[in-house]
Symmetry: C2
Subunit: 434 residues, 2 copies
């Protein structure tokens, strides 16, 4: 027996319907905010991913799917969308007109993580990227879009966790202070953090192992090292969120796991009645002003976020019914009626109504079972007698009726039934002529 690859998942029809419907919804909401779709390849040159995520990042050291293609090129399955989208913006020179560019993407990402509930090695992300704006208003708008998604999906208990890493000067000063602070405390940190001290000191603050360590809790705060400009910009972001009543807290320890973030960074999480965090980040993002230059393009202020689609799908409290349903089931009794009903069924399908026929040689009971499994509303039955008289028998499972009608009236009859929603004899619809 063949199995799926470890850490991947199959989505069966009901789950698939929910995911596809969610993706389409996210695309629609992003369009309201002026975003346009971009589709970039899953295959990326490894250099792009390694350079943008950072050679020392967890993603690159532990999680990428890297391999050589048949042409001996080092390629990586994209672990996230930002670097490939920014690469596409630069390669296609999209920045030469109409800035800011507001782009969204949706599709599979790949990370070799320890498989656990809701976390897969192949998963889908929906994200937006604004390229070519330095305005802190845009940071706030991006956060607003993220929270609009939560609100409109009727997820009420969300909260934004917000911080700023400041501009380059602020961040560099802060890094110096952190290095100085941690210098004689390395023994108190985990092994990964010891490495982080050398490669990317900021990330120590993000450590999941050391997160309650006193050494971390007492570390210098970025807020004390921000330039005036960075402070002002952060105030704009907060005012915007205040204006629109978006719930947030400032978390001075928030740093995010990728090398390219600058200025505003944020996550959206779920909270309980007492405002305690009860989830990891469902959505995460921030500003990344240095990435375009790092990738060989001009300096373009940029900001974005990404949602994990599967994670988001799991927390939606929906009453939508994604089970299979069919409008009409065609039930032939005998071979002549079969060919005749095939023609009728095609006509109904071409009118936009989902229809089914079980082609196996079943008896009536077998056909009824098949209709039940398809959740069919109308059962359309035809045997030799009906065929001769150009009639068909039609059962409406919703209104619990059973009629013999002219076959030429079939569509009209069904349309009337779904519009009228009452018993046929009581009204003037097309069907009561029969």
């Amino acid at each position: 027996m063949y199995t799926k690859v470890k850490g991947t998942i199959d989505f069966l029809p009901e789950q698939s319907k929910k995911l596809t419907s969610l993706e389409n919804y996210l695309k629609d909401v992003a369009s309201l905010y002026g975003y346009q779709e971009i589709r970039v390849p899953i295959l990326s040159y490894s250099e792009l991913i390694h350079r943008s995520s950072g050679e020392s990042s967890d993603i690159v050291t532990k999680e990428t799917f890297d391999f050589k293609d048949r042409g001996d090129r080092m390629v990586t399955l994209r672990p996230e969308g930002t670097a490939p989208v920014v690469r596409a913006v630069l390669e296609n020179k999209l920045y030469t007109s109409n800035l800011p560019l507001k782009l969204f993407y949706s599709g599979p990402m790949f990370r070799y993580e320890r498989p656990q509930k809701g976390r897969y090695r192949e998963f889908s992300q929906f994200g937006v990227e604004v390229v070519g704006s330095n305005s802190p208003y845009m940071d706030a708008e991006v956060i607003t879009l993220a929270t609009t998604i939560f609100k409109s999906l009727r997820i009420k208990n969300f909260r934004v966790r917000l911080n700023t890493l400041g501009d380059d000067d602020s961040r560099n000063n802060y890094k110096v202070a952190l290095k100085e602070y941690f210098k004689d405390k390395l023994d108190l940190l985990c092994n990964d953090c010891k490495k982080r001290y050398e490669t990317n000191t900021l990330r120590i603050l993000d450590c999941k192992i050391d997160k309650d360590n006193e050494v971390l809790l007492n570390a210098p705060k970025i807020s004390d090292y921000l330039s005036d400009k960075s402070k002002e910009e952060f105030e704009v972001v907060k005012s915007y969120l205040d204006l629109l009543h978006i719930p947030y807290i400032v978390d001075l320890k928030l740093v995010r796991g990728l090398d390219y973030y600058t200025n505003t960074i944020f996550e959206v999480e779920l909270v309980d009645e007492n405002d305690n965090s009860i989830s990891q980040a469902i959505c995460a993002g921030g500003r990344y002003n240095n990435l375009t230059k790092m990738l060989g393009g001009p300096e373009l202020g940029s900001v974005g976020f990404a949602f994990g689609i599967e994670r988001l799908s799991e927390i939606i409290d929906e009453r939508v019914d994604y089970s299979h349903k069919i409008f009409a089931q065609f039930i032939p009794i005998g071979i002549n009626a079969k060919m005749h009903l095939i023609e009728l069924m095609q006509e109904i399908r071409e009118h936009g109504f989902s229809s089914e026929m079980n082609y196996e040689s079943l008896n009536l009971k077998g056909h009824f079972k098949s209709s039940d499994q398809n959740n069919a509303r109308f059962l359309i039955i035809c045997g030799d007698d009906e065929l001769k008289d150009k009639k068909i028998r039609i059962k409406d499972k919703v209104q619990d009726t059973d009629d013999l009608i002219d076959e030429s009236k079939l569509l009209e009859y069904m349309l009337h039934r779904i519009r009228c929603n009452r018993d046929c004899e009581t009204c003037d619809g097309g069907c009561d002529e029969n």
Copy 2:
């Protein structure tokens, strides 16, 4: 400068919009025929792909992206959807209820082919798979669905190329006859065909190099080796297509490039006014009764097809405009108006109308340019004076009007404008009060 991987492509906003709209359309049409979506991983164990496509197939010998993951598992990026979907059906035991299963999928596939126009190493396929039906009526229905897609996309010049490979007995007898026929003619065949003679004789008929070779043209025909049952079933398929006026030709040389096909196989191609083929297959499929057993499951008669989304997208003759458009552009004059318009804009967005503001400190001309680039219909302007009076200035670019209205009437005004489509003074809409 970083580039996309050779053979892959970026789809910029207009193209992306077209592709996404096409994919959603295909899903809708498949739903009319009773199909449900299934989402299976891109990552597959190599063994699944190699076994199902055939170790000697072009796909496996030349085109797969195979590599070892960080856990030393041999994995392959799926080159097609059938084997992964059938694997999912078997692994999740979907066949234990309600047969036939009617499934569709849509997503990226990977083949290391020579890049050329419209053919990429990473491309999208939409396909359907019916699992658990031996009925030739189902073969015909699957073909009907494929042609419905062409018709409803207003592609008129399509034609089905049809053949049957017969059941196992028919095919085995035919293979013996082919072996015997080609035995002393190997010197006249290309090198690949010499190999095919040993590994899969049928595929010689499919050779692109030898296709006009007399030796091939004079080879035995499958039609002479079909069992009575296979002949009868093929007649059913043809009668169904005749009944629904679906244009097809029987092509006795059609064999398809994968090992798992049996019985009915088909392609859909484009033809010119003289019914000459003018394209390669846009859609291809057939019956594959041996695959489920080959993959370790029970014997389940199956049939399906796949479309290349990018190929299909290129041949659609559409008048749809996929360019970027925005409903309302908000234009603040000064910092106070900016914060105020942000609130108004959020309200309009939450009512489902796409809206934009350029947050940079622009003058009016700059804002107008930005609105033009966004193709905005309404321009909503507010400065300190308007702010004081709770008014806004609104320009409708479609009806070429310019009004000063109460800001509380904004939504009503715009709704009226789009509904009424006449100059405001001539009607009783909400806007003419101002």
